[in-house]
């Protein structure tokens, strides 16, 4: 108890220095309730079981560690797509660079505007999935986000939206500390694709809460990188209704500290939830995928596919769980987490978990860590492919299973093309 009390005290001291963003009635109430939850649970500490493999201190400390602004010199990802651009610079919405926040089949608003109102539909979602996601594992940085988020988007999808919504982040100030929160509500039968890319800030805490109603489909493709200095914690909360689809893919390249949490709950029968990620890490790279999928309905399918390519001492972490609640019969759950270690200095820490309370389910999980297949490498080299290119072909081969989770062929090609060009640059 002493440790808990001490952490609560430290958390209180940290929070007392912060100002809750200006809010109208609904948001003020939500933030106040969230703050009391947060004070109760305390900010994450290194000794927390859920933070065993990833040090939370730079994410929780008062000041964001500075991060050099990264100039990529390459065309931003998704540039060739017709999409609705929503740009945030160091965590602040940039109207000039953004498109009109309007589109057929959806309404988009800035969170900063939505929270100023006394009554807003976002109340039924903002912080709601987050609060639900605190059980059985606490996620204090997500609560922190709900309490302090200064901006974001609030999207209501009413129909099948053809143009993707592209959330674009830009990092311009060396010590920026951004807290963004997006809320996306899909009505029954609605469909939308949300893209995210760009370095956001020196320190970035981002939440996305997505409510997918019956027969709706949510597609999410995100790229993080190559800004190596950033520290980021993101939470993706999803609730899935009957026959709905939720598919999320994240590509991460570089980053001293990235923790991506996904918390999905399948609440309606016949729903499908896929969450996948591929990352390339080098040197003092630390990447953590923490996933929690709860099956609470019949005949649902979930897939977790995570691939990490690590070298020069990079660290990859995977904590993934499938929880099958009583009655969630005919569940089809799959989880695979694998690392390709390009040298002996890198490490992969994996904690795959299954917890099943129904008797008619098919759940499988696997986790592997390995070096490049020497026979395959030889095969490629024997055809004249130089070792470095052959190694990168094997890297592409390794991440393919995760990349294939991107349903749109165009987006998949975009991701593959970018991965190839990144690998080519890395080869020099």
């Amino acid at each position: 108890m002493a440790a808990v009390a001490k952490n609560q005290e430290a958390t209180a001291a940290r929070l007392d220095r912060l100002t809750v963003p200006s809010s109208g009635q609904w948001a003020a109430e939500t933030r106040e309730a969230t703050l009391s939850r947060l004070r109760e649970m305390g900010l994450p500490e290194r000794r927390d079981e859920y933070w065993k493999y990833t040090r939370p201190d730079t994410l929780t400390q008062a000041d964001a560690p500075a991060a050099a602004v990264y100039e990529t010199g390459e065309a931003p990802l998704f540039d060739r797509f017709d999409r609705i651009k929503v740009v945030f610079v160091d965590g602040v919405f940039d109207e000039d660079q953004s498109d009109d926040l309007a589109g057929e089949g959806l309404s988009i608003e800035r969170l900063a505007d939505a929270v100023e109102k006394d009554i807003h539909w976002a109340k039924e979602l903002y912080g709601v999935l987050e609060a639900k996601g605190q059980v059985p594992v606490e996620r204090p940085l997500a609560a922190f986000n709900t309490a302090y988020a200064t901006d974001g988007v609030v999207i209501h999808v009413t129909g099948k939206v053809a143009k993707p919504v592209n959330l674009i982040y830009q990092h311009k100030a060396e010590s920026s500390d951004a807290v963004l929160h997006h809320v996306i509500k899909l009505d029954a039968g609605a469909e939308v694709t949300v893209l995210e890319n760009g370095p956001a800030a020196a320190r970035f805490n981002k939440s996305m809460e997505v409510d997918v109603a019956d027969s709706a489909a949510f597609h999410h493709v995100r790229a993080q990188g190559r800004d190596h200095e950033r520290r980021a914690v993101t939470h993706l909360f999803g609730r899935l209704g009957t026959e709905s689809v939720f598919k999320s893919f994240t590509l991460t390249v570089n980053g001293r500290l990235t923790r991506n949490e996904a918390v999905l709950e399948l609440t309606g029968d016949d729903a499908v939830a896929h969450v996948a990620g591929a990352c390339l890490g080098d040197g003092d790279f630390h990447h953590d995928d923490t996933v929690f999928v709860t099956h609470d309905a019949v005949n649902c399918e979930s897939r977790q596919v995570f691939k990490k390519v690590l070298r020069n001492g990079a660290t990859g972490v995977f904590q993934g769980k499938i929880l099958v609640q009583p009655g969630a019969q005919k569940t089809d759950g799959y989880q695979i987490s694998q690392s390709l270690l390009l040298d002996e200095d890198s490490q992969f820490l994996a904690k795959p978990e299954l917890e099943i309370y129904a008797d008619d389910v098919a759940c499988s999980h696997g986790s592997t860590s390995g070096a490049i297949d020497e026979d395959a490498l030889f095969y490629l080299r024997a055809r004249g492919v130089p070792k470095d290119i052959a190694t990168d072909l094997m890297v592409m081969s390794f991440v393919a299973e995760a990349v294939e989770e991107v349903e749109s062929e165009e987006l998949r090609d975009e991701i593959i093309g970018r991965l190839e060009s990144w690998l080519e640059r890395r080869r020099g």
Binding site: Y379, R381, A382, R383, L393, M396, V403
Partner: protein, 251 residues
């Protein structure tokens, strides 16, 4: 073309001598066959020549067109014109067959200081060559060897050979896992590549492949050495009597 002199090779990981002094010379335009019982060192010879790790060369030399092969990386040997058709072609999920081949063709061209093949030219060439080997567009697009049948894998090896146009081709038990029709198709592919400027070394257990790919010279390998060399009739003798007679004769 290919010249091997007194080649002795042991495994890197254990103290086991596999090749105990191999002498062999394959001239341009000729097809040499190596036959021999299991464990005689035939596949090891093909791996050592093409640059696979895990072997230590304790003595001897191997040259291709006068260039020392054994000092080169596998990809450099390939660019020099050496090609190994694998006994067990490797599956590479997630890498398209066409992407792989184009990368290989252009890497070799680059290494030789030649201009890279444009996407259009490559496509034209591979389509024509695939057609003669009855490899359809779908197989070209699929990941390298993934889900290919035994025969498809071997046809794919020959397609690679046809695209890379090597000077010296080593075929390591290309007939294994092939039915009669597939063997005919693969052999036709190989025969189409027979050329005055190209040498072949065909490693096989059985005479039947040599019915289709007619050798000029047949070698019998046993216990890490070439123990007998002769004409095509030597292969027929093996087929008829097995290796026992020959081995007893040279012992």
């Amino acid at each position: 073309m290919l010249e091997i002199k007194g080649l002795k090779v042991k495994l890197e990981e254990e103290d086991k001598q596999i090749l105990k002094g191999v002498d062999l010379k394959v001239e341009a335009g000729k097809v040499h066959a190596i036959m021999g019982p299991n464990g005689s060192g035939k596949s090891t010879l093909s791996y050592v020549l093409s640059g696979k790790d895990g072997y230590e060369i304790t003595e001897g030399e191997a040259t291709l067109g006068g260039e020392d092969l054994l000092e080169l990386e596998a990809e450099e040997r390939a660019a020099l014109g050496l090609f190994l058709a694998f006994q067990y072609p490797v599956e590479i999920p997630g890498v398209g067959n066409m992407t792989f081949l184009r990368t290989a063709v252009n890497a070799q061209r680059k290494a030789r200081g030649e201009e890279e093949l444009s996407a259009a030219d490559f496509l034209k060439e591979i389509r024509a060559k695939a057609k003669t080997l009855k490899i359809d567009a779908d197989m070209l697009k699929r990941p390298v060897n993934v889900g290919f049948s035994g025969g498809e894998k071997k046809r794919n090896e020959i397609l690679q050979m046809a695209m890379l146009e090597p000077k010296m081709c080593i075929l390591d038990e290309t007939d294994s896992g092939l039915d009669v029709d597939a063997m005919k198709l693969v052999s036709e592919g190989v025969n189409a590549l027979r050329d005055a400027g190209r040498g072949f070394l065909v490693i096989t257990h059985y005479q039947r492949l040599l019915d289709h790919i007619k050798p000029d010279v047949v070698h019998i390998m046993a216990d890490g050495r070439i123990v007998k060399t002769g004409g095509p009739e030597l292969a027929l003798e093996v087929e008829k009597n097995g290796y026992a007679d020959i081995l007893a004769e040279v012992a």
